[in-house]
Protein backbone atom coordinates (compact mmCIF):
# COMPACT_ATOMS: atom_id res chain seq x y z
CA UNK A 1 0.00 0.00 0.00
CA UNK A 2 2.85 2.33 0.90
CA UNK A 3 4.53 1.66 -2.45
CA UNK A 4 1.27 2.32 -4.22
CA UNK A 5 0.87 5.62 -2.39
CA UNK A 6 4.46 6.56 -3.26
CA UNK A 7 3.85 5.82 -6.96
CA UNK A 8 0.64 7.84 -6.85
CA UNK A 9 2.44 10.71 -5.17
CA UNK A 10 5.33 10.68 -7.68
CA UNK A 11 2.91 10.51 -10.60
CA UNK A 12 0.91 13.41 -9.19
CA UNK A 13 3.96 15.56 -8.61
CA UNK A 14 5.36 14.76 -12.04
CA UNK A 15 2.09 15.79 -13.68
CA UNK A 16 2.03 18.96 -11.63
CA UNK A 17 5.67 19.66 -12.52
CA UNK A 18 5.03 19.02 -16.22
CA UNK A 19 1.97 21.30 -16.23
CA UNK A 20 3.90 24.04 -14.41
CA UNK A 21 6.81 23.86 -16.88
CA UNK A 22 4.27 24.00 -19.72
CA UNK A 23 2.54 27.06 -18.30
CA UNK A 24 5.85 28.72 -17.34
CA UNK A 25 7.25 28.48 -20.86
CA UNK A 26 4.06 29.86 -22.35
CA UNK A 27 3.92 32.79 -19.95
CA UNK A 28 7.68 33.37 -20.38
CA UNK A 29 7.26 33.50 -24.14
CA UNK A 30 4.26 35.80 -23.87
CA UNK A 31 6.37 38.39 -22.02
CA UNK A 32 9.27 38.36 -24.49
CA UNK A 33 10.03 41.11 -26.97
CA UNK A 34 10.84 39.10 -30.10
CA UNK A 35 13.01 41.83 -31.62
CA UNK A 36 15.22 41.95 -28.54
CA UNK A 37 15.27 38.24 -27.71
CA UNK A 38 16.15 37.24 -31.26
CA UNK A 39 18.62 40.03 -32.07
CA UNK A 40 21.72 38.15 -33.29
CA UNK A 41 24.05 41.17 -33.08
CA UNK A 42 23.07 41.97 -29.49
CA UNK A 43 22.84 38.44 -28.09
CA UNK A 44 25.17 36.38 -30.27
CA UNK A 45 24.05 33.61 -32.59
CA UNK A 46 24.48 30.77 -30.03
CA UNK A 47 22.19 32.46 -27.51
CA UNK A 48 19.57 33.20 -30.16
CA UNK A 49 19.61 29.59 -31.35
CA UNK A 50 19.38 28.36 -27.75
CA UNK A 51 16.31 30.54 -27.25
CA UNK A 52 14.85 29.15 -30.47
CA UNK A 53 15.47 25.56 -29.38
CA UNK A 54 13.99 26.16 -25.91
CA UNK A 55 10.70 27.63 -27.12
CA UNK A 56 10.34 25.57 -30.28
CA UNK A 57 10.45 22.34 -28.28
CA UNK A 58 7.36 23.60 -26.47
CA UNK A 59 5.70 24.62 -29.74
CA UNK A 60 6.24 21.10 -31.07
CA UNK A 61 4.70 19.60 -27.92
CA UNK A 62 1.66 21.83 -28.26
CA UNK A 63 1.31 21.08 -31.98
CA UNK A 64 1.80 24.72 -33.04
CA UNK A 65 5.23 24.59 -34.64
CA UNK A 66 5.66 26.90 -37.62
CA UNK A 67 6.55 25.63 -41.09
CA UNK A 68 7.48 27.87 -43.98
CA UNK A 69 7.76 26.76 -47.58
CA UNK A 70 8.32 23.12 -46.65
CA UNK A 71 10.81 23.82 -43.85
CA UNK A 72 9.77 23.17 -40.24
CA UNK A 73 11.22 25.38 -37.54
CA UNK A 74 12.97 22.31 -36.07
CA UNK A 75 14.75 21.97 -39.41
CA UNK A 76 15.67 25.70 -39.35
CA UNK A 77 17.16 25.36 -35.87
CA UNK A 78 19.08 22.14 -36.57
CA UNK A 79 20.55 23.30 -39.86
CA UNK A 80 21.36 26.79 -38.62
CA UNK A 81 23.05 25.43 -35.48
CA UNK A 82 25.27 23.21 -37.64
CA UNK A 83 26.09 26.12 -39.94
CA UNK A 84 26.90 28.39 -36.98
CA UNK A 85 29.23 25.77 -35.48
CA UNK A 86 31.00 25.41 -38.82
CA UNK A 87 31.19 29.24 -39.06
CA UNK A 88 29.36 29.18 -42.38
CA UNK A 89 27.86 32.46 -43.50
CA UNK A 90 25.12 30.79 -45.48
CA UNK A 91 22.61 28.10 -44.51
CA UNK A 92 21.32 25.57 -47.01
CA UNK A 93 17.94 24.31 -45.85
CA UNK A 94 16.84 21.04 -47.38
CA UNK A 95 13.24 19.89 -47.59
CA UNK A 96 11.15 17.45 -49.57
CA UNK A 97 8.47 18.43 -52.04
CA UNK A 98 6.57 15.80 -54.00
CA UNK A 99 9.31 13.28 -53.27
CA UNK A 100 12.12 15.54 -54.51
CA UNK A 101 14.75 17.17 -52.30
CA UNK A 102 14.74 20.95 -52.68
CA UNK A 103 16.82 23.68 -51.06
CA UNK A 104 16.53 27.22 -49.72
CA UNK A 105 19.61 29.35 -49.09
CA UNK A 106 19.85 32.27 -46.67
CA UNK A 107 22.31 34.11 -44.44
CA UNK A 108 23.06 32.20 -41.22
CA UNK A 109 22.28 35.20 -39.00
CA UNK A 110 18.95 35.68 -40.72
CA UNK A 111 18.07 31.98 -40.37
CA UNK A 112 18.86 32.21 -36.63
CA UNK A 113 16.62 35.27 -36.28
CA UNK A 114 13.83 33.53 -38.14
CA UNK A 115 14.03 30.30 -36.13
CA UNK A 116 13.99 32.27 -32.87
CA UNK A 117 11.11 34.54 -33.85
CA UNK A 118 9.13 31.58 -35.19
CA UNK A 119 9.61 29.67 -31.94
CA UNK A 120 8.53 32.53 -29.70
CA UNK A 121 5.68 33.75 -31.88
CA UNK A 122 4.18 30.26 -32.07
CA UNK A 123 3.79 30.30 -28.29
CA UNK A 124 2.72 33.93 -28.09
CA UNK A 125 -0.01 33.25 -30.64
CA UNK A 126 -1.15 30.31 -28.57
CA UNK A 127 -1.54 32.57 -25.53
CA UNK A 128 -3.22 35.35 -27.55
CA UNK A 129 -5.64 32.87 -29.10
CA UNK A 130 -7.15 32.09 -25.70
CA UNK A 131 -8.77 35.51 -25.74
CA UNK A 132 -9.16 36.09 -29.49
CA UNK A 133 -10.57 32.92 -31.04
CA UNK A 134 -14.17 33.62 -30.05
CA UNK A 135 -14.01 36.99 -31.80
CA UNK A 136 -14.29 35.12 -35.10
CA UNK A 137 -17.30 32.96 -34.18
CA UNK A 138 -20.64 34.05 -35.68
CA UNK A 139 -23.23 34.13 -32.91
CA UNK A 140 -20.48 34.74 -30.36
CA UNK A 141 -17.78 37.41 -30.65
CA UNK A 142 -18.02 38.05 -34.39
CA UNK A 143 -20.30 40.97 -35.25
CA UNK A 144 -21.32 41.90 -38.77
Amino acid sequence: MKTFNKILCIAGLSTLGFTTVHADLLSDAAKLDVKQACDVKANGIEAVLATAAKYNAEAVKLGVEFKRLGVTNSNYIKTTTEAAKAKQKEVVLKYKKKGKVKTHKMATDYAAWRSCSFAIRALQQQVEAESTWKLAVPGDGFKY
Partner: protein
Protein backbone atom coordinates in the same frame (compact mmCIF):
# COMPACT_ATOMS: atom_id res chain seq x y z
CA UNK B 1 -48.38 1.26 -4.70
CA UNK B 2 -44.84 -0.04 -5.15
CA UNK B 3 -45.51 -0.60 -8.83
CA UNK B 4 -46.71 2.97 -9.15
CA UNK B 5 -43.51 4.30 -7.55
CA UNK B 6 -41.36 2.15 -9.84
CA UNK B 7 -43.29 3.34 -12.91
CA UNK B 8 -42.99 7.02 -11.94
CA UNK B 9 -39.26 6.63 -11.16
CA UNK B 10 -38.67 4.94 -14.51
CA UNK B 11 -40.56 7.70 -16.30
CA UNK B 12 -38.57 10.41 -14.51
CA UNK B 13 -35.29 8.61 -15.32
CA UNK B 14 -36.18 8.23 -19.00
CA UNK B 15 -37.29 11.87 -19.24
CA UNK B 16 -34.08 13.04 -17.56
CA UNK B 17 -31.98 10.95 -19.96
CA UNK B 18 -33.89 12.25 -22.98
CA UNK B 19 -33.57 15.86 -21.84
CA UNK B 20 -29.88 15.33 -21.14
CA UNK B 21 -29.20 13.70 -24.51
CA UNK B 22 -30.91 16.60 -26.22
CA UNK B 23 -28.94 19.18 -24.31
CA UNK B 24 -25.47 18.02 -25.38
CA UNK B 25 -25.84 19.61 -28.82
CA UNK B 26 -27.49 22.85 -27.66
CA UNK B 27 -24.39 25.00 -28.16
CA UNK B 28 -23.46 23.27 -31.43
CA UNK B 29 -26.94 23.87 -32.79
CA UNK B 30 -26.77 27.55 -31.80
CA UNK B 31 -23.40 27.79 -33.59
CA UNK B 32 -24.77 26.11 -36.70
CA UNK B 33 -27.81 28.36 -36.87
CA UNK B 34 -25.65 31.45 -36.37
CA UNK B 35 -23.39 30.31 -39.20
CA UNK B 36 -26.37 29.73 -41.50
CA UNK B 37 -27.71 33.19 -40.64
CA UNK B 38 -24.33 34.79 -41.35
CA UNK B 39 -23.84 33.02 -44.71
CA UNK B 40 -27.36 33.79 -45.89
CA UNK B 41 -26.99 37.44 -44.85
CA UNK B 42 -23.69 37.66 -46.70
CA UNK B 43 -25.10 36.33 -49.96
CA UNK B 44 -28.57 37.84 -49.73
CA UNK B 45 -27.47 40.74 -51.91
CA UNK B 46 -23.69 41.16 -52.38
CA UNK B 47 -24.15 44.37 -54.37
CA UNK B 48 -25.90 45.95 -51.40
CA UNK B 49 -23.79 44.28 -48.71
CA UNK B 50 -20.43 45.50 -50.01
CA UNK B 51 -18.89 45.49 -46.54
CA UNK B 52 -18.75 41.68 -46.76
CA UNK B 53 -16.68 41.91 -49.94
CA UNK B 54 -14.33 44.85 -49.41
CA UNK B 55 -11.94 43.97 -52.22
CA UNK B 56 -14.47 43.13 -54.92
CA UNK B 57 -15.28 45.53 -57.70
CA UNK B 58 -18.87 46.62 -58.31
CA UNK B 59 -18.83 44.80 -61.63
CA UNK B 60 -17.67 41.64 -59.92
CA UNK B 61 -20.43 41.82 -57.35
CA UNK B 62 -22.98 42.41 -60.07
CA UNK B 63 -21.83 39.83 -62.62
CA UNK B 64 -20.04 37.09 -60.70
CA UNK B 65 -21.31 36.71 -57.14
CA UNK B 66 -24.83 35.31 -57.11
CA UNK B 67 -27.37 36.76 -54.77
CA UNK B 68 -30.02 35.02 -52.70
CA UNK B 69 -27.83 31.99 -52.01
CA UNK B 70 -29.35 29.77 -49.31
CA UNK B 71 -27.64 27.43 -46.89
CA UNK B 72 -28.76 24.33 -48.79
CA UNK B 73 -27.08 25.67 -51.97
CA UNK B 74 -23.74 25.74 -50.15
CA UNK B 75 -23.44 21.96 -50.36
CA UNK B 76 -21.91 22.89 -53.74
CA UNK B 77 -19.27 25.00 -52.00
CA UNK B 78 -18.11 28.17 -53.75
CA UNK B 79 -19.90 27.12 -56.94
CA UNK B 80 -23.11 28.14 -55.20
CA UNK B 81 -22.13 31.82 -55.58
CA UNK B 82 -19.25 31.97 -58.08
CA UNK B 83 -21.17 32.03 -61.36
CA UNK B 84 -18.08 31.88 -63.61
CA UNK B 85 -16.57 29.02 -61.62
CA UNK B 86 -19.95 27.29 -61.74
CA UNK B 87 -19.96 27.33 -65.54
CA UNK B 88 -16.53 25.68 -65.64
CA UNK B 89 -17.62 23.22 -62.94
CA UNK B 90 -20.72 22.25 -64.91
CA UNK B 91 -18.62 21.77 -68.06
CA UNK B 92 -16.18 19.44 -66.30
CA UNK B 93 -19.03 17.55 -64.68
CA UNK B 94 -20.40 16.58 -68.08
CA UNK B 95 -17.68 13.93 -68.04
CA UNK B 96 -16.73 13.71 -64.37
CA UNK B 97 -13.14 12.58 -63.85
CA UNK B 98 -14.12 10.69 -60.68
CA UNK B 99 -16.61 8.26 -62.25
CA UNK B 100 -14.14 5.42 -62.59
CA UNK B 101 -13.18 5.86 -58.94
CA UNK B 102 -16.78 5.20 -57.87
CA UNK B 103 -16.80 1.93 -59.84
CA UNK B 104 -13.42 0.95 -58.41
CA UNK B 105 -14.73 1.76 -54.94
CA UNK B 106 -17.66 -0.57 -55.48
CA UNK B 107 -15.27 -3.34 -56.49
CA UNK B 108 -13.18 -2.70 -53.35
CA UNK B 109 -16.33 -2.85 -51.23
CA UNK B 110 -17.13 -6.34 -52.47
CA UNK B 111 -13.57 -7.63 -52.73
CA UNK B 112 -12.69 -10.48 -50.36
CA UNK B 113 -9.97 -10.03 -47.73
CA UNK B 114 -7.49 -12.86 -47.19
CA UNK B 115 -9.83 -14.23 -44.50
CA UNK B 116 -12.71 -14.45 -46.98
CA UNK B 117 -14.68 -11.57 -45.46
CA UNK B 118 -15.42 -8.22 -47.12
CA UNK B 119 -16.13 -4.62 -46.14
CA UNK B 120 -19.80 -5.64 -45.95
CA UNK B 121 -19.10 -7.16 -42.54
CA UNK B 122 -18.05 -3.75 -41.19
CA UNK B 123 -20.35 -1.59 -43.30
CA UNK B 124 -23.60 -3.44 -44.05
CA UNK B 125 -25.07 -0.20 -45.42
CA UNK B 126 -23.32 1.89 -48.06
CA UNK B 127 -25.21 5.20 -47.81
CA UNK B 128 -23.30 6.19 -44.69
CA UNK B 129 -21.23 9.22 -45.72
CA UNK B 130 -23.41 11.65 -43.74
CA UNK B 131 -23.13 9.67 -40.50
CA UNK B 132 -19.38 10.21 -40.10
CA UNK B 133 -17.51 11.34 -38.13
CA UNK B 134 -19.27 10.18 -34.97
CA UNK B 135 -18.18 10.21 -31.35
CA UNK B 136 -17.54 6.74 -29.99
CA UNK B 137 -18.67 6.92 -26.37
CA UNK B 138 -16.86 3.69 -25.47
CA UNK B 139 -13.50 4.67 -26.95
CA UNK B 140 -14.06 8.31 -25.96
CA UNK B 141 -12.87 9.57 -29.35
CA UNK B 142 -14.08 10.85 -32.68
CA UNK B 143 -14.19 8.18 -35.39
CA UNK B 144 -13.95 9.33 -39.00
CA UNK B 145 -15.01 7.25 -41.98
CA UNK B 146 -11.35 7.00 -42.95
CA UNK B 147 -10.50 5.60 -39.52
CA UNK B 148 -13.45 3.19 -39.59
CA UNK B 149 -12.30 1.83 -42.96
CA UNK B 150 -8.76 1.31 -41.70
CA UNK B 151 -10.04 -0.25 -38.47
CA UNK B 152 -12.04 -2.69 -40.59
CA UNK B 153 -8.97 -3.58 -42.64
CA UNK B 154 -6.86 -4.18 -39.53
CA UNK B 155 -9.60 -6.20 -37.83
CA UNK B 156 -9.59 -8.47 -40.85
CA UNK B 157 -5.82 -8.94 -40.91
CA UNK B 158 -5.22 -6.49 -43.75
CA UNK B 159 -2.79 -3.54 -43.94
CA UNK B 160 -4.07 0.00 -43.41
CA UNK B 161 -4.56 2.19 -46.45
CA UNK B 162 -3.08 5.63 -47.09
CA UNK B 163 -5.66 8.00 -45.60
CA UNK B 164 -5.17 10.68 -48.24
CA UNK B 165 -5.78 9.06 -51.62
CA UNK B 166 -5.83 5.82 -53.60
CA UNK B 167 -8.08 3.01 -52.39
CA UNK B 168 -9.29 5.04 -49.41
CA UNK B 169 -10.56 7.85 -51.62
CA UNK B 170 -12.12 5.34 -54.04
CA UNK B 171 -14.07 3.47 -51.37
CA UNK B 172 -15.18 6.75 -49.80
CA UNK B 173 -16.24 7.95 -53.27
CA UNK B 174 -18.46 4.87 -53.55
CA UNK B 175 -20.00 5.48 -50.10
CA UNK B 176 -20.50 9.14 -50.88
CA UNK B 177 -22.09 8.39 -54.25
CA UNK B 178 -24.44 5.85 -52.67
CA UNK B 179 -25.40 8.39 -50.01
CA UNK B 180 -26.05 11.07 -52.62
CA UNK B 181 -28.17 8.70 -54.71
CA UNK B 182 -30.19 7.80 -51.60
CA UNK B 183 -30.77 11.50 -50.88
CA UNK B 184 -28.93 11.31 -47.57
CA UNK B 185 -28.03 14.38 -45.57
CA UNK B 186 -25.25 15.15 -43.13
CA UNK B 187 -26.50 13.87 -39.75
CA UNK B 188 -23.82 14.31 -37.09
CA UNK B 189 -24.82 13.61 -33.50
CA UNK B 190 -23.51 14.99 -30.24
CA UNK B 191 -24.94 12.68 -27.61
CA UNK B 192 -22.66 12.89 -24.60
CA UNK B 193 -20.65 15.33 -22.54
CA UNK B 194 -17.42 13.97 -24.05
CA UNK B 195 -18.79 14.35 -27.58
CA UNK B 196 -19.73 17.96 -26.80
CA UNK B 197 -16.18 18.54 -25.54
CA UNK B 198 -14.69 17.03 -28.73
CA UNK B 199 -16.94 19.39 -30.73
CA UNK B 200 -15.79 22.37 -28.64
CA UNK B 201 -12.12 21.40 -29.13
CA UNK B 202 -12.66 21.21 -32.88
CA UNK B 203 -14.46 24.55 -32.91
CA UNK B 204 -11.70 26.26 -30.94
CA UNK B 205 -9.05 24.79 -33.24
CA UNK B 206 -11.01 25.97 -36.30
CA UNK B 207 -11.26 29.56 -35.09
CA UNK B 208 -7.73 29.81 -33.65
CA UNK B 209 -5.14 31.81 -35.59
CA UNK B 210 -2.10 29.64 -36.27
CA UNK B 211 1.11 29.36 -38.20
CA UNK B 212 3.50 32.10 -39.27
CA UNK B 213 0.75 33.61 -41.41
CA UNK B 214 -1.48 33.89 -38.34
CA UNK B 215 -4.52 32.61 -40.20
CA UNK B 216 -7.36 30.59 -38.77
CA UNK B 217 -9.46 28.22 -40.87
CA UNK B 218 -12.27 30.75 -40.36
CA UNK B 219 -10.22 33.60 -41.83
CA UNK B 220 -10.73 32.03 -45.25
CA UNK B 221 -13.87 29.92 -44.82
CA UNK B 222 -16.09 32.03 -42.57
CA UNK B 223 -15.09 35.70 -42.75
CA UNK B 224 -13.29 35.05 -46.06
CA UNK B 225 -16.09 33.13 -47.76
CA UNK B 226 -16.74 34.63 -51.17
CA UNK B 227 -13.67 36.86 -51.06
CA UNK B 228 -11.35 36.47 -54.00
CA UNK B 229 -7.77 35.19 -53.74
CA UNK B 230 -6.24 35.75 -57.16
CA UNK B 231 -8.81 34.13 -59.48
CA UNK B 232 -10.61 31.95 -56.94
CA UNK B 233 -13.44 32.67 -54.55
CA UNK B 234 -12.94 31.13 -51.15
CA UNK B 235 -15.31 28.36 -50.16
CA UNK B 236 -17.67 28.30 -47.17
CA UNK B 237 -17.35 26.27 -43.97
CA UNK B 238 -21.04 25.55 -44.37
CA UNK B 239 -21.15 22.61 -46.78
CA UNK B 240 -17.42 21.91 -46.70
CA UNK B 241 -17.70 18.26 -45.78
CA UNK B 242 -20.64 17.37 -48.03
CA UNK B 243 -18.76 16.74 -51.25
CA UNK B 244 -15.65 14.78 -50.29
CA UNK B 245 -13.71 12.93 -51.55
CA UNK B 246 -12.95 15.39 -54.34
CA UNK B 247 -11.05 15.23 -57.59
CA UNK B 248 -8.92 18.35 -57.39
CA UNK B 249 -7.50 19.61 -60.64
CA UNK B 250 -4.40 20.65 -58.68
CA UNK B 251 -3.91 17.08 -57.41
CA UNK B 252 -4.87 15.38 -60.66
CA UNK B 253 -6.58 12.66 -58.64
CA UNK B 254 -9.14 11.96 -55.96
CA UNK B 255 -8.34 12.91 -52.37
CA UNK B 256 -9.97 12.66 -48.98
CA UNK B 257 -11.08 15.36 -46.56
CA UNK B 258 -8.06 14.54 -44.38
CA UNK B 259 -5.75 15.31 -47.30
CA UNK B 260 -7.39 18.68 -47.84
CA UNK B 261 -7.33 19.53 -44.14
CA UNK B 262 -3.61 18.82 -43.93
CA UNK B 263 -3.08 21.03 -46.98
CA UNK B 264 -5.05 23.91 -45.44
CA UNK B 265 -3.21 23.55 -42.14
CA UNK B 266 0.09 23.70 -44.03
CA UNK B 267 -1.08 26.78 -45.95
CA UNK B 268 -1.57 28.55 -42.61
CA UNK B 269 2.17 28.21 -42.06
CA UNK B 270 2.02 25.49 -39.43
CA UNK B 271 3.66 22.08 -39.38
CA UNK B 272 0.40 20.29 -40.24
CA UNK B 273 -1.35 17.93 -37.89
CA UNK B 274 -1.72 14.44 -39.31
CA UNK B 275 -5.16 13.65 -40.73
CA UNK B 276 -5.51 10.80 -38.26
CA UNK B 277 -4.61 12.93 -35.21
CA UNK B 278 -7.04 13.79 -32.42
CA UNK B 279 -6.76 17.45 -33.47
CA UNK B 280 -7.75 16.73 -37.07
CA UNK B 281 -10.58 14.38 -36.13
CA UNK B 282 -12.09 16.92 -33.75
CA UNK B 283 -11.84 19.67 -36.37
CA UNK B 284 -13.61 17.40 -38.86
CA UNK B 285 -16.27 16.59 -36.25
CA UNK B 286 -16.94 20.32 -35.79
CA UNK B 287 -16.91 21.01 -39.53
CA UNK B 288 -19.27 18.14 -40.25
CA UNK B 289 -21.71 19.22 -37.56
CA UNK B 290 -21.84 22.67 -39.15
CA UNK B 291 -23.08 21.02 -42.36
CA UNK B 292 -25.85 19.09 -40.62
CA UNK B 293 -28.97 18.89 -42.74
CA UNK B 294 -27.20 19.60 -46.04
CA UNK B 295 -27.39 16.95 -48.77
CA UNK B 296 -24.42 14.69 -49.45
CA UNK B 297 -22.98 15.79 -52.76
CA UNK B 298 -19.86 13.73 -53.26
CA UNK B 299 -17.67 12.77 -54.87
CA UNK B 300 -17.11 15.99 -56.71
CA UNK B 301 -14.56 18.13 -58.50
CA UNK B 302 -12.73 21.16 -57.20
CA UNK B 303 -9.94 23.30 -58.58
Amino acid sequence: MLLKVVKISALVAISACTLNAGSFDTQAEKDRQALVKYMEAKFSNPEKNKSFFPYSTEDELKRVIKKGVKAADLAKGSYAYDSIGREQYDDINEMPPYEDAIDEGEVLYGKKFANGKTFKECFPKTDIAGDYPYFDNKKKEVVTLTQAINDCLVANGEKKWNIKKGNMAKLEAYFSHQSKEAGKKVAIKIDSKEAAQAYENGKKAYYTQRGYLKLSCATCHVQGTGKRVRKEYMSPLLGHTTHFPVFRLKWGNLGTLERRLEGCNKDEGENPHKGSSKWAKEVLYFMSYMSNGLGIDGPDIRK
